[in-house]
């Protein structure tokens, strides 16, 4: 992907303090994460629950502040946004769509409320009439009729509500939509429609999407690039077809081997990994995946692996993969 850089996370770190005064410890939710999102690009951020995916989205949306590191949007550091105008502009350009379409809407207000309100806030130049017209337009864009504007949330299905979420984001003329598991609570037959919508927004309006998911198959369906997180760090990243065809990090391989595929022949004899993702509390140095990794070597317990490019654009943070060079690393298949 040679698209222009839109957003860059630079050594992004987010820690949480836990425990009382005497047992103060630190949870490393996101640790030293670097990545970029280009213009007109869908980047999938995948990983287990607790791997830090949502924390990254919340930091990018400025819901929580990074402990250290910086987010650059269009080349400018986001932490330097001081004035209300600048901050509003940023949150309009980088809106978020949430996972739960039932919890993210006020049940006593019509669905147009959210859209009209964000229009009023982010595009003050529009008149009341202009706002209504614009709301109708974004509803059409996401595949909802303008008559839906007058409905209450309870009258809408889960898929329709999630479309309202995207309409709300689109009303602000965004450049990057942060979509945190936008389809995981929807029925299978409805999901595809929303994935197609995300691809359409990219193709016709040039909107980028950070698509957070634990479903690799749906990520492959829409995304251009894939970032795999494990325990707060990036395990592997690269063009999605390349990563799926040649996964280099043992964790990515494990993840791919676990994806149910009705078209594949049965292989129950496959390894039964019974490990669990770790809670990253006051971690010691070393690879965080080493306890579950069949390939772990001594170095893995001493040195934290950093992302290194193994093929053009394809990075993995794994000592074994980096030493093996071009050779295939196979931990799980």
């Amino acid at each position: 992907m040679t698209s222009t850089e839109l957003l860059r996370a630079d050594h992004l770190t987010r820690h949480f303090k836990i425990g009382g005064a005497l047992s103060r410890r630190t949870l490393h939710a996101v640790d030293d994460v670097n990545f970029t999102i280009g213009e007109r690009e869908i980047v999938a951020l995948a990983g287990e629950s607790g791997s830090g995916k949502s924390t990254i989205a919340r930091v990018l949306a400025r819901i929580s502040k990074p402990t250290s590191g910086e987010v650059y949007f269009e080349g400018k550091p986001v932490s330097q946004l001081r004035s209300r105008r600048d901050r509003l502009r940023y949150s309009g350009l980088v809106p978020m769509v949430f996972q739960d379409p039932f919890g993210s809407m006020n049940p006593v207000l019509r669905v147009q409320h959210g859209v009209l309100r964000s229009l009023k806030l982010h595009r003050p130049e529009l008149s009341a009439q202009g706002r209504s017209a614009e709301a109708a337009r974004v509803f059409e864009t996401v595949g909802l009729g303008a008559d839906m504007l007058e409905r209450f949330p309870y009258e809408l299905s889960g898929g329709q509500r999630q479309r309202v979420g995207f309409a709300q984001a689109l009303a602000m003329r965004p450049k990057l939509i942060l979509a945190d598991e936008p389809v995981s609570m929807l029925d299978v037959s409805i999901r595809i429609g929303l994935l197609n919508l995300m691809a359409e927004l990219r193709d016709t309006m040039g909107v980028s999407v950070l698509y957070i998911t634990h479903d690799i198959a749906s990520a492959r369906y829409v995304a251009d690039r894939l970032i795999v997180m494990y325990a707060g760090q990036i395990a592997e990243s690269g063009p999605i077809e390349e990563v799926l065809a040649n996964p280099r990090h043992p964790y990515t391989q494990l993840l791919l081997s676990a994806v149910p595929d009705p078209r594949a022949p049965l292989s129950v004899a496959a390894e039964t990994d019974r490990g669990e993702p770790p809670k990253v509390i006051d971690p010691a140095p070393g690879c965080r995946f080493r306890y579950r990794c069949p390939l772990a070597i001594d170095t893995c317990a001493q040195v934290t692996p950093v992302l290194a490019e193994l093929r053009p654009g394809h990075d993995a943070a794994c000592h074994v993969a980096q030493q093996a060079g071009a050779d295939q690393v196979k931990a799980f298949s």
Partner: protein, 337 residues
Amino acid sequence: MSDVPVLEVSGLCVDYVLDRGDVRAVDDVSFTLNRGEFLGVVGESGCGKSTLLFAIAQLLSPPARVAEGSVTFQGTDLVGMTDEQLSAIRWRDMSLVMQSAMNALNPVKSIGAQFKDAMRAHGKPTREEIAARSAEVLRMVGIDPVHLSSYPHQLSGGMRQRAMIAMAMLFTPDLVIMDEPTSALDVVAQRSLMVQIKELQVTYGFAVIFVTHDMSLISHFSDRLMVMYAGQVDEFGATRTVFDRPLHPYTQGLLEAFPSIRGPKVPLKGIPGNPPDLGRLPTGCRFHPRCPYAVDRCAEVAPELYQLDQALVRCLRRQDGSLPVEADRSTPATRGA
């Protein structure tokens, strides 16, 4: 005894009695479950799959009630049994694993104490027997018995779900009913739990009814597959057959809605529209408003569940042959697998 099926459900209908009239959530479901069989039930939210499970386990509470039909478990009809009669069967012969183990386990009691309660409810085991059996079932699901003294919040999601399954195994039941036990887990934990359930099932020979909305999950684990839509069975057949040669347009649509991580990338369409409101069902075939093959007749005639080849399918056009069955969908790699 061995040729008596574990469970026979016949003409089962469940109504929700509401002010605006009764809503039929499960409509005329019949099937026979043999010993050691793994039955998968799939469908979208609101299709009645969980209500069906609750009806089988006799756990419905008002406003839901069994309106018609019978649930025969090992020769006795459970419908109309009193709670006392049921409690002799529950857990000993038939156990239930629910969707969210966090809610199903008691948060203020240790795992061991909850196992003890379940065992004391059925007989008078000694303390040693309880300890031995509890440790044994935990080991069966791959959890170290030290966790008998752990509380649910101290276990991860996957371990809680495994502890629930261990608890369901306490009496080696003949039937284990599972309601989306893996849906709160991520793919890796989900996969390993499925493999484990299958291993236990093969080893101990209990029958399983497994409800899920994720068809791809059970493709390798269930013997037969029941697809539900709007309270009815739409298709019912051997799992491999349903996957390779889906007969009902809804099943086809469901299968085509799954992106794959292998093979060429193909644009998918999903199924247009939404599942119907059970209180306002369309006339004729319940799927016809969303069906790409619907003809006028589909809006007029309500199809029955027709026998076609080895499978049951509720589709007029399949039955009269006007929608020919396509060639095998399976790839060369899966054929004969």
